[in-house]
């Protein structure tokens, strides 16, 4: 029941957000808002494995880009598919990759696991770069439809709404997990895997659930990207800045709860968008770096950690 109320409230917030964005009546609001929403999904997804289970995944770009490239493939082969269906497909692809990666690497702990995920991202990028069907290193052009298919407005508004819906789903899911049996199991794994096993927690199974969910959501977040950028090449799809931002946001907001990544993504995502417009995009990455260092030193439990106690 608590979950049902939360989802209703989240939907209400989402509706208000959309109404406010519409009332501003400037396409840029949707372009910028889309990026912030995308980071809400990415940060929340990353935190399911990184924050809840304590496994730091550096391979975010791979999951994200594979979702985006799934859309490129579907756009070329089945252009009639609606975007949500493509997102589902991207989610399945990245979820399966997450499952496979988990199976191969979850016996590693700490830094070794993180390095393995980074290596996986490099492998994935190399494969996409050498796959001509999706444009190889030259990249792929995708024509963005002019209008939203479900309401009157242009397509960027539609992308905004779709990402808003995915944010609601991701945040609600993360919150539901946090208070569930699964969430207790994840926390136990994060704190002490041996003690978790001794308490009856099937650690391998739970970690696989976490990698699949986390990877799947990242893939879904990446799926609309080709329509947003209209030109996708491996260098931009696999850009390091996705990984840096996605890890920085939960760390700044706080990794222990569903709320931390949300706060971090809204705060940092918005700041970055403003900085990109007003000054430069190089500055926005620098901003992340400075904030990250500040938080790691001054407030290791993030913003949420401040308010508890």
């Amino acid at each position: 029941m608590r979950n049902a109320y939360f989802i209703l409230a989240a939907l209400a917030v989402a509706a208000v957000t959309f109404a406010v964005a519409r009332s501003i009546d400037n396409a840029y609001v949707f372009f910028a808002g889309y990026v912030v929403l995308q980071y809400i999904v990415l940060a929340t997804a990353w935190n399911i494995l990184g924050g809840f289970c304590g496994y730091v995944n550096f391979g975010i770009a791979a999951f994200f880009a594979l979702g985006a490239y799934t859309t490129v493939v579907l756009h070329k082969t089945m252009p009639f598919l609606p975007l949500p269906a493509m997102m589902l497909a991207g989610g399945v692809v990245s979820g399966l990759i997450g499952l496979g990666m988990g199976y191969l690497t979850l016996r590693l702990r700490g830094t070794f696991f993180s390095i393995a995920t980074l290596a996986m991202a490099v492998v994935a990028q190399t494969m996409i770069t050498n796959w001509n069907f999706v444009g190889g290193s030259r990249g792929a052009y995708i024509i963005r439809p002019a209008d939203s298919p479900i309401f009157s407005g242009d397509y960027i508004q539609y992308l905004f709404v779709v990402m808003l819906a995915l944010s609601v789903i991701s945040v609600s899911l993360a919150r539901a997990i946090q208070f569930s049996r699964l969430g207790f199991g994840f926390s136990a794994i994060r704190d002490d895997e041996g003690a978790a096993e001794a308490s009856g927690v099937p650690t391998l199974k739970l970690k696989l659930i976490a990698t699949a969910l986390s990877g799947g959501l990242m893939g879904m977040a990446g799926a609309p990207l080709p329509y947003y950028v209209t030109y996708l090449d491996p260098a931009s799809g696999f850009s390091l800045s996705y990984a840096v931002n996605t890890i920085a946001m939960p760390l700044i907001g706080g990794t222990a709860t569903w709320l931390g990544p949300l706060i971090g993504a809204i705060l940092l995502g918005t700041l970055q968008q403003v900085a990109t417009v007003t000054i430069s995009s190089a500055l926005s990455l620098l901003l992340v770096g400075v904030l990250l260092v500040t938080f790691v030193i001054a407030a290791p439990k993030g913003i949420v950690g401040w308010f508890k106690k």
Partner: protein
């Protein structure tokens, strides 16, 4: 006594070139109170780790309640009804005491096929009360003393609702009175049908508790029998006092 609950046959364990356990044979009957003693480094904790699946034994077989355990993961052994406390307490540090106890309730006690699901909250309170930690239910393990940490360790082991409890030095560092409290607790649990293996250096406690005593020295079992006889055996005395 009745049927064997745990059977260990020819168990061996190596760490690289070092042999920690050699050909350990042991039978524990249902309902028994067994004391396991031995000098530091004799392999007691290693034996516990092999029994509970934290480590894999290189040789031999372990059978629990008719199930062959070789290759079985630790969490499945816990669900079958084996629980252990860690010699160095390993609490879940980001969870409150109540949540620490909740993990095995959710993942072991409530997963067992027999019996109906218990209410986690009530069970959790009962367990914390049992070890006197109920007033601290909402604190984190970092706020506890070492002694309270051991009690938490014991409560968490009990929370999985085990048939066999292995307490690895649950009493080290406790005061005379606290040792008595834990002893009383363990004997009470045993009265409720839980088979208990107690690993302990405090002789007073071992003798008060054990119906049978097993002695490990340098990874080998050198004695197994009635406590009063065992402690007079020359090789046991030699192992403890140095020959």
């Amino acid at each position: 006594m009745s049927n064997p609950l745990l059977t260990v046959a020819g168990l061996g364990k190596r760490f690289g070139g070092f042999t920690a356990l050699t050909d350990v044979n042991l039978i524990v009957a249902e309902g028994e109170r067994l004391g396991l003693i031995g000098p530091n480094g004799s392999g007691k904790s290693t034996l516990v780790n092999c029994l509970c699946g934290t480590l894999r034994n290189d040789m031999g077989k372990v059978t629990f309640d008719g199930h062959a355990l070789n290759g079985m993961s630790a969490h499945r052994r816990t669900r079958l009804g084996m629980a252990r406390s860690f010699q160095l307490p390993r609490p879940f540090t980001t969870l409150t005491l109540a949540e620490n106890i909740r993990v095995p309730i959710l993942y072991a006690a409530n997963v067992k096929t027999s019996g109906q699901a218990i209410d986690p909250r009530q069970r959790c309170e009962a367990l914390l009360d049992m070890v006197g930690l109920l007033p601290k239910a909402d604190l984190k393990p970092a706020d506890l003393t070492q002694i309270e940490m051991r009690k938490l360790e014991l409560a968490r082991a009990m929370a999985s609702d085990p048939r066999l409890l292995i307490a690895d030095e649950a009493m080290a560092g406790l005061s005379h009175q606290e040792v008595d409290e834990i002893l009383e607790l363990l004997i009470k649990l045993n009265g409720q049908g839980v088979t208990i293996i107690m690993i302990e250096h405090i002789m007073r406690a071992v003798l008060a508790f054990s119906q049978r005593l097993v002695v490990l020295v340098a990874g080998r079992k050198i004695a197994d029998g009635v406590p009063q006889d065992i402690i007079r055996q020359p090789d046991v005395v030699a192992a403890y006092l140095g020959s």
